[in-house]
Subunit: 357 residues, 2 copies
């Protein structure tokens, strides 16, 4: 190999036109004779010409490429976001370059710098816990940015996410309505702003029910294994919760493993409600009740805001919050105590002891 690639110059000379004319053909510019155009196209075909987008981007100072930073490619939520964003982008003849931070602020920063070096026109980022360095870099470079999913209360950049607090409030009320009183909310970290909002929604609902004392928030760590290990003891304790609400996919996976280890049955011994829904939750038993994020709509807003910023860079930051519906399936049911001693519908007043005999 290493045989030099065909350049537009060679195409032009083969077609017997000037370099500029050939360029105009490939860029669909008006003012090229039908015959010349035809000859250029033929020459390009014959020579196997592939325009060098490095050169074009360098010259044009725009790449029609956006960067997308996600923490992880193994998380289905991010996959869906990637999928939708890429589809929208392609439909507008933009491309997206995906990089992953692996929940590591340093790697995130480094990956963003790589994107900046590639001169992407804009950036969509799902940030890590501590992305201040990354954020500073982006601000410094004055590149259009949209923060997706893991938003803060007051992001400097425009942001789009689900209304996390409302979503967990909804979920908690569902559990409460089923008769649960001892609830645990399991999430990886509250350093993520959206996680904090999820916790907040959970707590708010518990508070409204006068149950704040019975509300437990577990923060076992960022991985599935840490979650399993951290949750297991509370599941096997005498005063264990009767329902667990997980704040993310990895939390759900970890809790499920802990439940396995504890030899418990869902929903007989324990109810489970998951944040983030996807296909496998609906096909293996028990079907998991979940809160579904509208990933396509999220991606759509992110794209809209980003491209608007291409036109008008200095418009005020828009902040979108979408509702996330709850889908009740098989894992959320009445607590075990309920069966033995049916409650008398005192609406959130008294208690049913969820502890096992």
């Amino acid at each position: 190999m290493s045989q030099r690639k065909t350049t537009i110059r060679e195409v032009a000379s083969r077609a017997g036109v000037s370099l500029g004319t050939a360029s105009n053909v490939f860029n669909g510019k008006a003012g090229v004779g039908a015959e010349s155009r035809q000859r250029v196209l033929e020459a390009a075909e014959a020579l196997g010409f592939r325009p060098n987008s490095l050169a074009a981007g360098l010259r044009r100072q725009r790449t029609r490429t956006i960067g997308l930073v996600v923490p992880d490619v193994l998380n289905i939520v991010f996959n869906e976001l990637v999928e939708h964003l890429e589809n929208i982008a392609l439909s507008q003849s933009y491309e997206v370059i995906i990089v992953t931070s692996r929940e590591d602020p340093e790697r995130e920063h480094e990956r963003v710098r790589a994107l900046l070096s590639r001169r992407v026109d804009g950036l969509v980022i799902v940030p890590t816990r501590d992305w201040s360095a990354t954020e500073r870099e982006m601000r410094h470079h004055r590149i259009p940015v949209v923060v997706l999913d893991r938003v803060a209360a007051h992001d400097h950049f425009p942001s789009v996410a689900v209304d996390n607090a409302a979503a967990t409030r909804l979920g908690t009320e569902h559990l409460l309505g089923l008769g649960h009183r001892d609830l645990a909310f399991v999430i990886n970290s509250t350093r993520l702003w959206n996680s904090a909002a999820r916790v907040e929604g959970f707590l708010a609902a518990m508070r409204a029910a006068g149950l704040e004392k019975r509300a437990r928030v577990l923060l076992p760590g960022m991985t599935e294994e840490e979650t399993r290990a951290g949750v297991l003891p509370v599941l096997t304790a005498a005063n264990r919760p009767t329902a667990v609400f997980t704040g993310s996919n990895v939390a759900t996976l970890g809790v499920l493993r802990a439940v396995q280890d504890a030899g418990m049955a869902i929903p007989q011994d324990l109810s489970l409600l998951a944040f983030d829904d996807f296909a496998w939750l609906t096909v293996l038993r028990p079907f998991v009740s979940a809160i579904r994020q509208p990933t396509e709509a999220l991606a759509g807003h992110a794209w809209r805001i980003l491209t608007a910023a291409f036109e008008a860079p200095d418009r005020p930051a828009e902040h979108i919050r979408l509702p996330a519906p709850l889908i009740a399936r098989e894992t959320t049911a009445a607590p075990p105590g309920k069966v033995k001693a049916p409650r008398r519908m005192k609406a959130f007043k008294d208690t049913v002891d969820g502890a096992l005999p």
Copy 2:
């Protein structure tokens, strides 16, 4: 924004050195005075300099970037491949640009052209059913390519995959050993060469057991929904199989839905063996027996071969086939007939009628 980005020239002049010296600093070239180096670094920091990799790539004629073409970002197998490949690449200070074909040969071709325009140094591709156009393009451009996962019997390019036929032979023997005689193998399409190999392994094992008449191969389509719709009637027919072996994730998902629709219980009514294993299969009930692809090893080989081709482009194509282990869990058990009329261990000789009463 639109404020011009800092260039290496500005950095150099601020540091009081020539452009070339600054360049040498950023590329870690020897022969730069410690003092100059220091000044350049400071200037770069102060100015927020980000080297323009478009310009560098254009000049250098190499981008230290590889392209990765996958059919889909929602399939966990491809996600794992992406994850591992990206990690290896980054550790060698290469980057990877991921594009998706969505199982569409035209989109695949178009995406590969985009990658070519970006002047990636090499390509790893998980091809679609009919990638002849794509393949021709790649050959024409004489760029190093490795075919991953969806390999053919005799690929022109080096290839790495699991030994598909051996894997399904293994799986089929497992089912046979459990006492099943009426087996169905469900896969999306045999136009994928690796799928063809999977079918072949299944058939070979059935033939070896003298059961070729009882072997059924179902090709319901590329989507989960098509699979569900196509499989449901055969599951509810009088002469239904007692075990289903699915050849891919989407087939598994579709079959699971069909099983749901049919109101059947796994493994009591039907055994299920899946090709491709992952976390959720091990955490919701029943735990699904599966054949696991060693994705990390696959990615490792792909990378090794690709980078070897950077050094020696004309070496003969290497073809790697790795074994894929079977992990027996809860979904594979003895067929229902077995309970009523235990077989007398005539080793694959006679039959147990798997049809339900």
